[in-house]
């Protein structure tokens, strides 16, 4: 049956009620994005100026070693973080779904890190991963003298250390989303497949997992959004170090906005970050709307 919505006469209070939202969306979101865009084409340093330098800031940006390193770090981090979270989260969801006992406890255990701040989890992982008193030292104390686990101070591996902490924090989110997806699979499908004598693993592969498309896409969207915003955990764990080995774009922007007072370059970087976000997230948003249309 067609559902009726409002009649004309009622929409004035509704418009009034939506005014704060409209202001937020137009002024705060759209306005500040446009502002950043404009500034990125200027020669602004500490304060915004009206100058116009075309794409000069973007050329400088992509000649900047630190920015390029940030991008490279973000790419490595993003791929590893998203894949590891999806894989671990999926395994956990699957096993919890199969496991009869202890579901509530297990779910709480896997998800609690997501309730903590990145600063807090960064702090504890920095402590655990520091080679002098942390896990490496435990290995040595147990008599494994050759044990090396000093990624957090190794410029070539520090980004992996951040991945570990971030996966610990976010895998539970994927678990929760996929578990909800698994649970929404029609129980009659399970019964029908069992009566047809189909093995459990085959039910998962052929029937259940294809229905999780929407949940996977949702998880990917949330994880990628988090990748782009990666900042707090780096600050807490390494402050971008050792040296500049764990610099990331969001931190590059913050440093140039504040420490280095180069807001034009920072704005150019933030525009690039925005474009990256759109490029990464939109395919998944599209895939998800397709999955929703299919009813998956």
């Amino acid at each position: 049956m067609p559902t009726a919505r409002a009649a004309r006469s009622g929409s004035w209070p509704a418009r009034l009620a939506l005014l704060p939202l409209a202001l937020t969306a137009v002024v705060a979101y759209l306005g500040s994005i446009l502002w950043s865009l404009r500034v990125s084409f200027s020669a602004s340093r500490t304060f915004p100026s009206d100058s116009w330098v075309g794409a000069a800031q973007y050329l400088r940006l992509f000649a900047n070693e630190r920015w390029l390193l940030s991008l490279q770090n973000l790419a490595v981090y993003g791929v590893l973080f998203v894949l590891a979270c999806l894989l671990l989260g999926f395994l956990l969801a699957l096993l919890i779904d199969r496991q009869v006992a202890g579901e509530g406890v297990l779910r709480a255990v896997f998800l609690y890190p997501y309730a903590m701040s990145f600063i807090a989890s960064g702090a504890v992982w920095a402590w655990m991963l520091n080679p002098i008193q942390g896990v490496e030292a435990v290995g040595h104390a147990l008599g494994w003298e050759a044990f090396r686990f000093d990624w957090i101070v190794d410029p070539d591996r520090v980004i992996y250390a951040i991945v570990i902490a971030a996966v610990w924090q976010a895998a539970g989110l994927v678990m929760a989303l996929l578990l909800a997806g698994l649970r929404s699979v029609d129980a009659d499908l399970w019964r029908a497949a069992r009566i047809d004598g189909i093995p459990t693993w085959r039910i998962y592969v052929s029937i259940v997992i294809p229905q999780l498309g929407y949940s996977f896409a949702t998880a990917a969207i949330l994880l990628l959004t988090a990748v782009i915003k990666l900042y707090d955990a780096v600050v807490a764990m390494t402050q971008g170090g050792p040296g500049t080995a764990s610099e990331v774009p969001a931190k590059f922007i913050m440093d140039h906005l504040y420490g280095r007072a180069n807001i034009a370059l920072a704005s150019a970087a933030s525009v690039m970050l925005l474009l990256t976000a759109i490029a990464l997230v939109s395919p998944f948003l599209y895939a998800r709307s397709r999955a929703a249309a299919r009813g998956a």
Binding site: G10, A137, S215, I253, R288
Partner: protein, 285 residues
């Protein structure tokens, strides 16, 4: 569901146990480290139970540790975070409920456009909007003030809060809305007298999401709260990254636990509601 073969079940249980240990390990390490005196923080004793458990690190973290210039512990940060989180949550949840109601049940021209823009806002990295907002709030004299940081939190949480309530109100039977309209209730009457009293579950979920989100924020607090209202996360980061003197990891860990206390209590106290908030906000776009 099928019962799996014994070997498979043992394997699954073992994997889950190992995974649970991995997830619990940091919590355990935080706890034992925070209870150890400084001289027990020697190499190789990361996982060891404290020989002489002490609450001194907690006291230091709470009221003596140096967080930047001042050495008054994270106590001030706790009060600041509280002062920020309470109004931010009330305002954001209230506005989100109102927005969601208006968007889900009333036809307003341009509403789809508005909602689309809002969802873009959800994916935009905060850094893109940060400086323009600093300038704007600076003009209003709100940077470094409590109203300023609360306003920024409300602005940044608008997409999630609106989405939560839009989905919630859209899931209610339309006939209820129609019945109230025929009974003569207008835009505000339908919301305050019929729908809001039914919204307790979603109000709870949204409040949980918002409290944890605001409490765990670092970036906005760093930029907008200024020195006087620096939230706990900012103080914690100052504490653990202070370069002066020897690192007192036991104090660091006590401060970390103190900072995580509110969200963890909310999380463990609210049980499934937290999960519901995550899935409700994420699963329907």
């Amino acid at each position: 569901m099928n019962r799996s073969p014994l070997a498979a079940r043992v394997g699954m249980a073992a994997f889950l146990a190992v995974a649970a240990a991995f997830f619990l390990l940091p919590l355990y390490v935080m706890l034992v480290t925070s209870l150890k005196p400084l001289d027990e923080l020697r190499a190789g004793a990361l996982f060891a139970w404290p020989l002489a458990p002490t609450l001194a690190p907690w006291r230091t973290a709470w009221s003596e540790a140096c967080t930047g210039v001042a050495c008054e512990g994270v106590r001030a940060g706790f009060m600041n975070s509280l002062a920020i989180a309470v109004p931010s949550t009330l305002l954001a949840v209230g506005l989100g409920a109102l927005n969601g109601y208006a968007l889900a049940l009333w036809r307003v021209r341009g509403a789809n456009w508005l909602f689309g823009l809002l969802m873009v806002g959800a994916f935009v990295p905060g850094q893109v909007m940060l400086y323009p907002l600093v300038r704007a709030l600076g003009t209003l004299g709100l940077v470094g003030s409590l109203p300023g940081i609360v306003l920024v939190h409300v602005v940044f949480s608008m997409p999630l809060m609106t989405l939560l309530f839009r989905n919630w109100y859209a899931s209610l039977p339309t006939e209820l809305f129609n019945a109230a309209r025929i009974d003569g209730a207008g835009f505000w009457g339908v919301w305050t007298r019929v729908l809001l009293p039914m919204s307790a579950p979603m109000l709870g979920v949204a409040a949980i999401m918002q409290v944890t989100g605001v409490w765990n924020d670092y970036l906005l607090g760093l930029v907008f709260a200024g020195h006087d209202f620096a939230p706990m996360t900012v103080q914690l980061n100052n504490l653990i990254n202070t370069s002066t003197g020897t690192r007192q990891y036991n104090v660091d860990m006590a401060a970390t636990l103190l900072t995580s206390l509110v969200p963890l209590v909310v999380y463990f106290g609210s049980g499934r509601w937290f999960v519901r908030g995550i899935t409700a906000g994420a699963l329907k776009g």
